[in-house]
């Protein structure tokens, strides 16, 4: 029982120890004053992937690093930068991983081409079958 309680304490303590004591970045949880700019920032943040959490966007994540990324996105949008330029900047550093918006690239093109090829084959088969029965 005591060992179990100890184990629970250890498990409960680990996530706390892995957090920093610094306050979040100024624009991690604060919206931009201009609603139009905030909407642009939000749109980009929803399609940038959190580097610490794999299946969350930085808009959804409470990881401190995601907060720092939101801060960077918001301050750069406020400075007049284009959202797609910021995405490119991120992808220059982290590759395709960081973008949640699907991008056609050297490794991902079969995902886009595959369904088209299958549709083409299906259309061909159907066309031949109908021609034969007609």
């Amino acid at each position: 029982m005591r060992a179990l309680a100890g184990l629970l304490l250890v498990l409960a303590a680990l996530p706390l120890a892995a957090q920093d004591a610094m306050p979040p970045a100024p624009y991690a949880y604060r919206q931009l004053e201009d609603p139009a700019l905030e909407a642009r920032a939000q749109g980009l943040m929803e399609t940038l992937r959190c580097l610490k959490c794999q299946s969350q966007s930085i808009a959804d994540s409470d990881a401190p690093m995601a907060g720092d990324m939101r801060h960077q996105v918001r301050t750069r949008i406020a400075a007049g930068e284009d959202p797609e330029a910021i995405r490119e900047w991120m992808m220059e550093r982290y590759g395709d991983y960081v973008s949640y918006a699907p991008v056609v690239s050297r490794t991902t093109w079969p995902l886009f081409a595959g369904p088209l090829v299958l549709l083409g084959i299906a259309a061909l088969l159907i066309w031949r079958r109908f021609r034969r029965s007609a």
Binding site: A25, M65, M69, R93, V98
Partner: protein, 176 residues
């Protein structure tokens, strides 16, 4: 006799099964690697993260000597685990500079007092700005930066004892 077409769907299924089976035998790489290897460090200047070491700027990296740039934090547990390996690298003559991510001076000082201080300089990256600029996705990470400020290698995760000779070799390569 049925034609080859009859077995085509089975063949395709077997192909997919084969690909999936092959992928299962491959080691999985969960790391997000920086795509900045071979590219220059950005312009930056960071305040000192602890009172007894100077801060860090791009000019400090471009002094002609290759260095290890260790990204760490006092709140990061694997960073404590790699401290003996950093000390070993330092003992073998590797110049090491540190970047403390989201850290308070008093926490940095306490960490260094407890685990040792292998760093010549420690810059404070309060908003993870340098970390994002060089494509680092967590702590700890260790970059090899050559004397011209070009990123030559990225080691992700804590440095194990078996990584020490490899990092020394990367540092030598960066000096050539």
């Amino acid at each position: 006799m049925r034609g080859w077409r009859f077995f085509l769907p089975l063949g395709i299924f077997a192909l997919f099964l084969g690909i999936a089976g092959y992928q299962l035998t491959q080691p999985k790489d969960d790391f997000v690697h920086s795509t900045m290897i071979g590219r220059p460090m950005p312009e930056f200047a960071m305040r000192p993260a602890s009172p007894d070491r100077p801060g860090l700027s791009l000019a400090d990296l471009k002094d002609g000597t290759p260095k290890l740039l260790n990204i760490w934090a006092s709140w990061c547990i694997p960073c404590a685990a790699e401290a003996p390996q950093l000390a070993a690298l330092k003992a073998q003559g590797a110049p090491i500079v540190g970047v403390a991510i989201r850290d308070r001076p008093e926490d940095v000082a306490a960490f260094l007092a407890r685990y040792g201080n292998p760093f010549d300089r420690i810059g404070a990256d309060d908003l993870s700005e340098l970390q994002l600029a060089i494509g680092s996705s967590g702590v700890p990470e260790t970059f090899v930066i050559d004397g011209d400020g070009i990123i030559r290698y990225q080691h992700i995760g804590d440095i194990r004892a078996s990584d020490v000779p490899m990092l020394m070799e990367k540092l030598r390569e960066a000096g050539r």
